[in-house]
Symmetry: C2
Subunit: 479 residues, 2 copies
């Protein structure tokens, strides 16, 4: 098999298969040849074939069906070339306009219609409550008079260690510190590795929470243009490091918000190597890491040898936003991280940690995830279908293989930020693209969430957005 220079074998196989799918030689629902067949056909090691299939899976082009093989996915993928833009920035301080804060605090609701009735079946919440309630009863007196240690409850830290084993990542319990959520972990991580005035690299588009932390800690940011499918590219980051004094890079390798991009296995490895070589910190936002629909992708932390990777995660997206329990594994800065946790908020609640530890140790978290990931995938498909029905070819969008949201590109003359208030007045809560950049990029983009069942309220909301856009075109004052 002929392959380009600097290309891994698996990449060249992946390209071939993508070509076949794009040319229609392999169609939706078609079963791919088996790993054994592909291996002999292309004269590749099985492990390379597997990587190629994982790569296609991460791009949402094929799906694994247990005990059956790989199939071309049912939903027709857009090739979305428009979604990727290339640019070169200089580092600069972040200025977040005040109106954005309001949008951001609502945007965290991750819902088009937060006031609509809840239809989602969530058997795990009552179950989870029972565990926490029991923990509250059992040690209520002791918990009332003693703070939990700043690094958090040992049993919970052990459970988090065990959980990361399922994702191929060895994480010692002493390297886990409990926080009150992933935002809190990211805040602590950036305080631990940066001083005011330092430069950090961020993905573009980036999670807006990171932009806000950078603003408050007076860090300069430089945006790295990312693929909406495969996320951050290590080579692109290296060029920026060569040019600017980058101290750390914040990255969401697995199902980044807003795009849902997932970095391929080798790209993660390359990024970790790069951080080691240039002695910079990688702050890994792993909040969606457990929400891969078919894969449970390796975290970046798995490739960390010298403690350059600071892993941040939380149960908020995977279990409940009411827990306020996250974690951070600080690498070479872990002692400092624990101290910052103490200084920032002393400790987290003990009962909720104990309850969670039991919930995890009895396997309920894993069982919930297995159910939930299937649900989310179905909800993604429903949302994509509704997008096609409502907008036709007017929009392009990502079709992520994990996470909670997708990234929608509207025609270039539209400004979703200007649509925010008129739509809010109609009870619709959109998350405008401009929130995801410090450079007023992505004006014609939207993040849409599939965290909720696509009920009639949300379908109507999509229609209302479409009508609003049509109205803008008809209005002579549209700009």
């Amino acid at each position: 098999m002929v392959r380009a220079m600097n290309e891994y074998k698996y990449q060249s196989l992946a390209k071939r298969l993508i070509n076949k799918i794009e040319q229609g030689l392999l169609q939706s629902g078609d079963r791919l040849p088996s790993i054994r067949q592909l291996s002999s056909q292309y004269k590749l090691a099985k492990v390379s074939v597997q990587h190629a299939l994982h790569y296609l899976e991460a791009r949402g082009m094929v799906e694994a069906r247990p005990r059956s093989g790989y199939y071309v996915t049912a939903v027709i993928r857009q090739t979305q070339p428009k979604l990727d833009s290339k640019f070169e920035d200089k580092p600069g301080l972040v200025e977040v306009p005040n109106i954005f804060h309001q949008i951001m605090s609502k945007g965290a609701a991750f819902d088009l219609c937060p006031l609509a009735p809840l239809h989602d079946h969530m058997p795990h919440t009552q179950f989870l409550h029972r565990f926490i309630s029991r923990a509250q009863r059992q040690d209520s007196r002791r918990n009332a008079v003693y703070y939990s240690p700043p690094e958090g409850d040992l049993r919970l830290r052990k459970q988090i260690q065990n959980h990361y084993k399922t994702r191929n990542c060895a994480l010692h319990e002493d390297q886990v510190c409990i926080t009150s959520g992933c935002q809190n972990s990211l805040f602590i991580a950036l305080m631990a590795c940066c001083n005011p005035g330092d430069t950090i690299a961020i993905e573009s588009p980036a999670f807006y929470g990171v932009l806000q932390i950078a603003q408050q800690l007076r860090l300069k940011v430089i945006e790295v243009s990312c693929s909406a499918i495969t996320g951050l590219n290590a080579d692109d980051l290296e060029k920026i490091i060569a040019k600017w004094p980058v101290k750390a890079c914040v990255v969401t390798p697995s199902y980044a918000t807003p795009t849902g991009a997932c970095m391929p296995y080798h790209e993660k490895q390359k990024l970790a190597d790069l951080a080691e070589k240039h002695n910079i910190y990688l702050i890994e936002d792993d909040i969606y890491g457990d929400l891969g629909f078919t894969l449970l992708p390796e975290p970046l932390k798995r490739f960390d040898r010298r403690g350059n990777v600071i892993l941040c995660g939380s149960f908020s997206k995977s279990l409940s936003r009411d827990l306020r329990v996250g974690w951070i594994s600080g690498g070479s800065l872990h002692d400092k991280v624990i101290h910052l946790k103490l200084v920032n908020q002393l400790s987290c609640g003990q009962a909720v940690q104990t309850g969670l530890a039991s919930f995890l140790s009895e396997g309920h978290y894993r069982r919930h995830l297995n159910r939930y990931r299937q649900q989310l995938r179905q909800r993604r498909d429903n949302l994509v279908q509704a997008l096609v029905q409502t907008f036709g070819s007017e929009v392009s969008y990502t079709v992520p293989e994990g996470g909670l949201a997708l990234w929608v590109e509207l025609p270039p003359n539209l400004d979703t930020h200007k649509m925010y208030l008129p739509l809010l007045a109609k009870g619709i809560n959109i998350t405008p693209g401009v929130l995801f950049s410090s450079q007023r990029r992505y004006l014609n983009y939207l993040r849409l969430s599939f965290a909720h069942t696509l009920d009639k309220h949300r379908k109507n909301a999509l229609s209302t957005i479409k009508q609003h856009i049509d109205g803008l075109y008809m209005s002579p004052k549209s700009d």
Copy 2:
């Protein structure tokens, strides 16, 4: 009545009464003349007499008995002149040695023997649990998918507003933001009003949590020498403001840790006026404000006219350390405070806030406080008695009228920091004085907590400390 220049009328009456108590003309248990009698005897307005009595009460020299009058308190107070030291510092960055962090995280346990069995009767904890558990059940699905707003639950904020009314302080619900505890509030407060390199004034001795925040935020601190009885003196602060570019002052006006000092009513007023005049922020640590044994003292915030006072509080010391619920009222910086809360940790748990709001609205918090404040007073008396029995006249100490701890001065050649590890090896957890200063002051001091019942384990711990000290004197190498 002859009074010194610059002295309020109530101060001169208070002095006279103190003299009578110290000379034995008024003895423990004696009933003071009524307010009406004192008013006519000294030709003073009733309000001045009341202030004088409040002042004596704050100093622990008299106590109010409902529907009966004021009595000289039963415990014999030391005059403790040695506890107050005067000094002049320059502002400087804080360096907290690493070993201190460990002591501090243990010190937060507020207990001599943290592993001893719990004897304290705490009926409120189960009751509180029932409210929170009910809240968890009722809205578990909605709470699982939506974050609480960054400023916190409206019902809880209203309850906090109502609660401050009982302390004579009007606080609008829109001026209350929920945090995850008082340490978190202080962290946010200092981030809101200072930039790295700015100078803040702190009490000396000061709460060590504030020293650690200053270190992390790279703030310079200047210590203001304080009275162990009446806390910060506004005139002393004014001299420092005249000399140094002070941006903010962190102060615990009501039952400061470690001394238990309580600022008199007029001194609070003076301090608030001073902040307004010089345009500095006062960060009020009100965590012990609900724990006055006889008084519920006015917070500093009550005297705030232009938003210079940032009030920080929590339910941790008064209700349960497991709640992780505190609050902050940011004055003129309140919008920034809410934004920092969002950036720092997005939101707090919804169920715990709802449960607390119900607990408060049904009057359970007030009932619990009434019981608990009596308990604490009894525990303080027991600890003072044990101190006298164990150490005789070797130590002097404060006898606070509220809070959870008192401040013990050992002979000047002792260093409590050096006693820390040997005593820890015996299962005894002391909080050395050096933690409460950035200038290696208070080497021969200890903070002792009366948050717990003085059981045989804690009595034995005091004896072990005494034996350890005696051993140091006998050892030729003691230094």
